[in-house]
Symmetry: C2
Subunit: 170 residues, 2 copies
DNA sequence: CCCCCTTGGTTCAAGTTTGAAACAAACCTA
DNA sequence: TAGGTTTGTTTCAAACTTGAACCAAGGGGG
């Protein structure tokens, strides 16, 4: 079958998206690096932990919500641990698992860093969007994300009992 | 001034965006890596060169359109040059500049790789969007990109004679 | 219980990215 | 036109990412 190339309108969207996403991630990374000494991803690790029950999460679960590989998370947590912002803990239920725990210092850094980060996200993104556009963006992105999530397992249509989720709170 | 935190709707959008952009870039990188032996960025270097007059571009101009640092581009071009897909050429007009030139082999690889790439972009992104959403995405992203472009120079309002653009075709 | 398959994590080497120098050519301007 | 600034590019080390390989521990059948 011959390739279905992108229409001019699709090209316009695709190029704009690539430019915007690169620029956006750059500003955010730079801001967080300067004021928090860590890249965006590491910040998100802290943020996710801070919202988790008891400030701890299984490595695998954390990786899944962040949409990154376990290997990448291992590196991030190791670094954050070295800086004292996160601590590893063994899981009692399943001796294979390990939990990442946000330390008090980690929480402090997060609280100190959050305002500047939010301000950046706001001025770079939301201040330039109308309320309708915020909704449109959310709609578009949840659709894309859901699509890309559920296709990995098998090649065909999803037939799983709608995604299991293991838990491991002590 | 106290922080203007994100509204629930903004949070929803922001989280969805982060998930989607990460997943999207992952699929595309993986596909391109497997079928083309290069990451997305490198493909974009080839693609941009292929559309340039005479298939050549100044490093700085290329970096600017790709929204990446010159340093990053240097690395990419060096690697592509090692693989024979791109060649460097000196600029006659300005002896400081160097041009990246798409070789015939580079063009061939690009043509061989493009269909699979487009198919991935399509199935991951555009097949999940309505025509209106494509327009919305384009609108949103051009707005963001424009905003982030023009704020870098100075801190205040732009006062430049609307962005110069040097050219250097032989 | 033992074997096999799956799951949770880490490790390791190779690849990529970053940001701060370093350099060199071009461009003022006095 | 010498000297200082700007512009175009590369270099380098440190940081981060990737993917494959590895090592446990859990979970069934037999």
């Amino acid at each position: 079958m011959t390739t279905r190339w992108l229409t001019p309108e699709e090209q316009r969207a695709w190029r704009a998206y690539n430019a915007a996403s690169r620029l956006l991630e750059d500003v955010i990374d730079r801001q967080l690096q300067q004021e928090g000494g860590m890249p965006h991803l590491f910040y998100m690790v802290l943020a996710n932990l801070s919202e988790a029950p008891d400030r701890r999460l299984r490595m695998t679960d954390l990786a899944e919500t962040l949409k990154i590989t376990r290997s990448r998370l291992t590196y991030a947590v190791t670094r954050l641990e070295r800086d004292g912002l996160v601590r590893r803990e063994d899981c009692r239920r399943d001796r294979r698992s390990s939990l990442a725990v946000l330390t008090d210092e980690g929480m402090a850094v997060l609280e100190r860093t959050a305002p500047g980060h939010v301000e950046t996200v706001r001025s770079a993104l939301f201040d330039r969007l109308t309320p309708e556009q915020v909704g449109q963006l959310a709609e578009i992105c949840t659709g894309i994300a859901r699509g890309l999530q559920d296709e990995d397992p098998g090649a065909g249509a999803g037939d799983l009992p709608w995604r299991r989720r293991s838990s491991c709170s002590p």
